[in-house]
Structure formats: C-alpha cells, structure tokens
C-alpha cells in the first residue's frame, strides 16, 4: 500500500451514469489486475474504494458508476484537481492460473477489473474468451476497447438492446476453457459460480472502513472462515465463498 497524491487527467461520462477517471501519479504500488484504490472525496469522511481498470507508467484509470453521495461528488472532479488515494490495495486476480484458454466474465461496472486482467493476459500471450453482461446498451463499457486489444467480447444485455438478450450466464459454455475470472454484482457472481464447471475466481465488493485490513468492516463468509474483502480479497477462489 502506498498513499499517493494524484492529479486528475480526465473525468468524462462514458455510459449511463458511468465516468472514466484517469489520474496521473505514482502507480508503483499496483502489482496485479483486480487490485483497488481508496479515494478521499472532499466533504466525506470515509474513503471510497474502486477496482482499477488499468495502471502503469504514471497513470491509473478507474471507471465508476454514480450510485451514491461519494460517486456523485466525484463527478465534479476536473482536470488538474488533486485526489488523495491509498493505492495497491487488495490481492488482485492471479493471472498465473489462467492456463491456455481462460474465460473472463464481467457484469456491469464489474467489467473494468476484468478488462485490466485481459490486458495482462494478452501481454503474456494468452487470448482469453470474454463475456460481458449489462442491463442495456446504454450501460455498456469497454466493449470497443476489448476489440482494440484483439479480444472480441460476447455481450449480453438484459433488455436485448445490444448483443444477446439475457444474462451473461445465458451465453457462456460452462465447461469450456481452462479457468475463469468473474467480477460483477453478487446475484451475477452467485449464478456464475453455480453454473461453471471449470475452476475459477471471483472479485467481491463490500462497504469498507479502512480498505487495508484493519477495521474488519468488509467481512465475507468463506470456507476459510470470516475474511476481509479488502485485504484477503477482493478476489477469492470461487468455491471458497459462502454466499
């Protein structure tokens, strides 16, 4: 973990209620896709945690959806504004387990960390199969950037406005692939875990106090006992989470 003072490079809307925030500054604490940072928002006491969409060089990128007071205030950030963040938090995905034909599954605003993992896998010469689920075409993020990377995602929307109509679980072959990685809302993750016939890991979210393992605020029940989403996760082996 490293405390970093960032400068906002951009903070633009890219989908319905979703903003693309790029921060300039030290990214050296990030060591794996799926890690997160914890941002101080002016006027709010607790920091707000976000999985990272990409990191490297001197820029870190976060896609966030406006869901409450913190994210609403964040939309007011302008280029040049200072942002205080704790960085390199959490374990991240274990890209080493991918095997030859990994399957990546993203749901809604759970897509950015999956995108970060795809970049890492492509860099390692592995081409993942990517499945993305959204409520509607207006919610779709990063689909074009996956294509630019040479990975064409299969997209499902609940209302059928883009790609296949239905949930992401409707378009996946549960037995195909070497290993899977998933991030998205809890109902999606539960459905994915019960569907898949190959081993995998999932990235969870929970309301956090500190984000670095001290307050025991973000508890998750697992087969290893009560663990911390922030410090023991956010990525857990699929079979160890007790839903």
């Amino acid at each position: 973990m490293k405390a970093v003072k960032y400068k906002v490079l951009r903070n633009d809307p890219v989908a319905d209620g979703v903003y693309d925030l790029v921060l300039s500054g030290d990214t050296s604490a990030f060591t794996a896709p799926g890690q997160f940072l914890n941002i101080t928002v002016d006027g709010l006491y607790l920091r707000r945690p976000f999985s990272v969409c990409s990191y490297g060089g001197d820029a870190v990128r976060v896609l966030y959806k406006v869901v409450g007071e913190g994210t609403k205030k964040m939309t007011a950030l302008r280029p040049g504004d200072a942002v205080d963040a704790l960085t390199g938090l959490g374990n991240g995905f274990d890209a080493g387990r991918a095997g030859e034909s990994p399957v990546l599954i993203g749901g809604g605003i759970g897509t950015p960390p999956v995108y970060s993992l795809a970049r890492e896998l492509v860099k390692r010469g592995v081409r993942p199969a990517v499945y993305l689920g959204f409520n509607s075409s207006a919610d779709v993020v990063l689909a074009a950037e996956f294509v630019e990377m040479g990975v064409v995602p299969v997209v499902a929307t609940a209302d059928g406005s883009l790609g296949e109509k239905g949930f992401v679980t409707d378009v996946i072959d549960p037995a195909a692939g070497s290993y899977y990685y998933a991030c998205g809302p809890v109902p999606m993750l539960k459905a994915v875990v019960s569907l898949m016939r190959i081993p995998g890991e999932v990235s969870l979210e929970e309301r956090m106090g500190c984000g670095f393992g001290v307050c025991e605020g973000c508890a998750v029940r697992t087969t290893r006992g009560i663990l911390r989403v922030c410090a023991d996760g956010p990525v857990f082996k699929a079979e160890e989470v007790i839903w």
């Binding site: 006491y45 607790l46 007071e69 106090g209 001290v214 307050c215 973000c218």
Partner: protein, 304 residues
C-alpha cells in the same frame, strides 16, 4: 524542548498517543507502514475468550464527519492472541501494549484478566464494557453501575496490572458508572466508546447496516467525548484516557485540558493510516504555539 511524556498508572508513555482498539487491529498492518515504537502505545483489537465471527455485512456506514460500525467484536479469541499474535507483536512493537478485553459474562472478564494479566508485553488491561454491537455483554455491563463494578472487581481479583475500564457514552449516567468502577478498584477509565447510531438507505428504505444499529466515531463525536471526559474528571480521582474523534494535535491538547492523562486515536487511523505519527510529529509545535512546556502539566487544566 517540550516534554510530551506522561505517566499512565505508573507506566511511562513517551507521548500520550495510544492507537485505539478496533481501529488498529493487532498492529501488524500499520507496522508495515511505520515504526510503531513512535506511538505512546496501542490498544489491540477487543479480544474475547473464544473466537468471534462478528456481525453480518454491511458493517460500515458513512456519516457526517464520521463513520458507523457494527463489526461486533470479530476477533481470533484469547488463545490465538496470546499464543500467536503477542509473540508476533514482540517483533514490531517494543513498548507495553494495552490489552483490550471483552466478555459476555463476569466470568469471561475474569478469565481474560487472568490470561492477559500475566503477559509481560501487556502494560494495561483495557476492559471493554461498552461495545454497542454485541447482543449480550459489552455495553450491557457498561450501562449499569452495579454490573460495571462487578466486572471491575472480578478483573481486580485476577491481576495486579493496571485496569482501565472503557466506558460508554450510551449509559444513563456515565459519571455513576465511572464512580462505581473507581470504587470497585479500577486504576483508570477510558472514554468514550462509540455513540449508538444508524443510517437508512433511501432507495432500499432499509437500514444501511445489517445489524440495523452501530457505533458512531470520528470527529462528529469529539464534542460529546470532551463533555464526558469533563464530567467524569470532576467525579473521580483516577486518571482518564480520553478518546472520541481525536484527529489532530489540537484535539489531543483539548482532550487533555478536559481531563485526559492520555489520548486514544481511533477512526482517524482508518481514513489516514499515518494519522498517529502525523499527530505525534505535530504535537511539539502545537505545544510551543500554546506555551505548553510539559503535556502532563495541562491535564484537567480547563477545570480551573
């Protein structure tokens, strides 16, 4: 050169800053960020006889100038703390540590006082009779003078180490509980634990916390804590450890002027992991600015 040292129950603290229980774990995470020996001390996570899983999530809610938690005393239990965590702690903290203990019966407290009362690393026992997030025990002892006295007495019989009873602001009369603890043999009192509070999610029309209610901490409670320390200082003769929203050197001095001999820093550690060293670094300049040569001179000075 100003003097930040204070004595707490016969144990010297290089400075009055003690990281508060529940906001510092067992120190390990912070030991990777800075040298914990800069602290006066720290009070480890409230420990019960047996391991506890705590409450269901969500356990955390934001609040104006503060936060609400309903962790519910999740901890690995006294045996793991004694046999695994204390030896580990010896590697990264070389001063007396404060052992925060919590029970759901008088017998639990006595057992914990017996276990931690003989540990060389433990400088003080901080007896938590004020946790608002557990169904039995915790605050139910701290809200009732007779029950608080019974816990104090049970611990007193088991150890000669200094006993600090940690009080709740949610009691009918915090001074009555304070006096009962003093009469039953407490060496000091620490206050305040969190203030019972809640938030409601507007969209779900339901409480944010799975446990419905939790405890408010952070700067929002500082004035409440000052009032409690002020009142208790006028009611007892034993020293006080003040806490509640302390985040700056000025807050530390304000708490000491109200009557605190030492000061615990809690929620501030969670939003800024370097809060304690920053406060400690800033204390001498603040003292000089206010014409304070020795911090121990100002304890209770606001009472005239």
């Amino acid at each position: 050169m100003v003097n930040t040292g204070v004595m707490l129950c016969g144990v010297r603290l290089d400075n009055p800053i003690i990281a508060a229980s529940g906001c510092f774990g067992y120190g390990e995470e912070f030991s990777r960020l800075y040298d914990l020996d800069v602290l006066g001390s720290f009070s480890f996570k409230g420990t019960t006889v047996a391991p506890r899983d705590g409450n269901p999530a969500p356990r955390i809610a934001d609040a104006p100038d503060g936060m609400i938690n309903s962790v519910g005393l999740q901890n690995p239990g006294s045996q793991a703390v004694r046999d695994e965590l204390l030896p580990k702690m010896a590697g990264y903290f070389h001063k007396p540590v404060m052992a925060n203990i919590c029970g759901s019966s008088v017998g639990d407290y006595a057992a914990l006082a017996e276990i931690f009362g003989v540990q060389e690393q433990v400088g003080w026992l901080e007896v938590n009779i004020s946790c608002p997030n557990v169904k039995c025990g915790g605050m139910s002892f701290g809200a009732d003078p007779a029950a608080a006295a019974a816990v104090t007495k049970a611990c007193r019989e088991k150890t000669d180490k200094p006993i600090i009873m940690k009080l709740t602001p949610n009691a009918g009369s915090v001074t009555d509980v304070a006096k009962a603890c003093e009469a039953a043999g407490a060496d000091a009192l620490s206050l305040i634990n969190t203030v019972q509070a809640m938030r409601i999610d507007l969209r779900r029309r339901a409480p944010v916390l799975a446990n419905v209610k939790g405890g408010l901490s952070g700067p929002a409670v500082l004035p409440i804590a000052l009032r409690c320390v002020w009142d208790v200082y006028e009611s007892v003769k034993i020293p006080l450890v003040g806490m509640g929203g302390v985040s700056t050197p000025a807050d530390v001095i304000e708490m000491m002027l109200a009557g605190a001999t030492a000061v615990e820093v809690g929620a501030a550690n969670l939003v800024d992991p370097f809060a304690c060293p920053k406060i400690i670094d800033g204390l001498p300049a603040k003292m000089e600015e206010l014409g304070i040569n020795s911090l121990s001179d100002i304890v209770g000075a606001a009472h005239g």
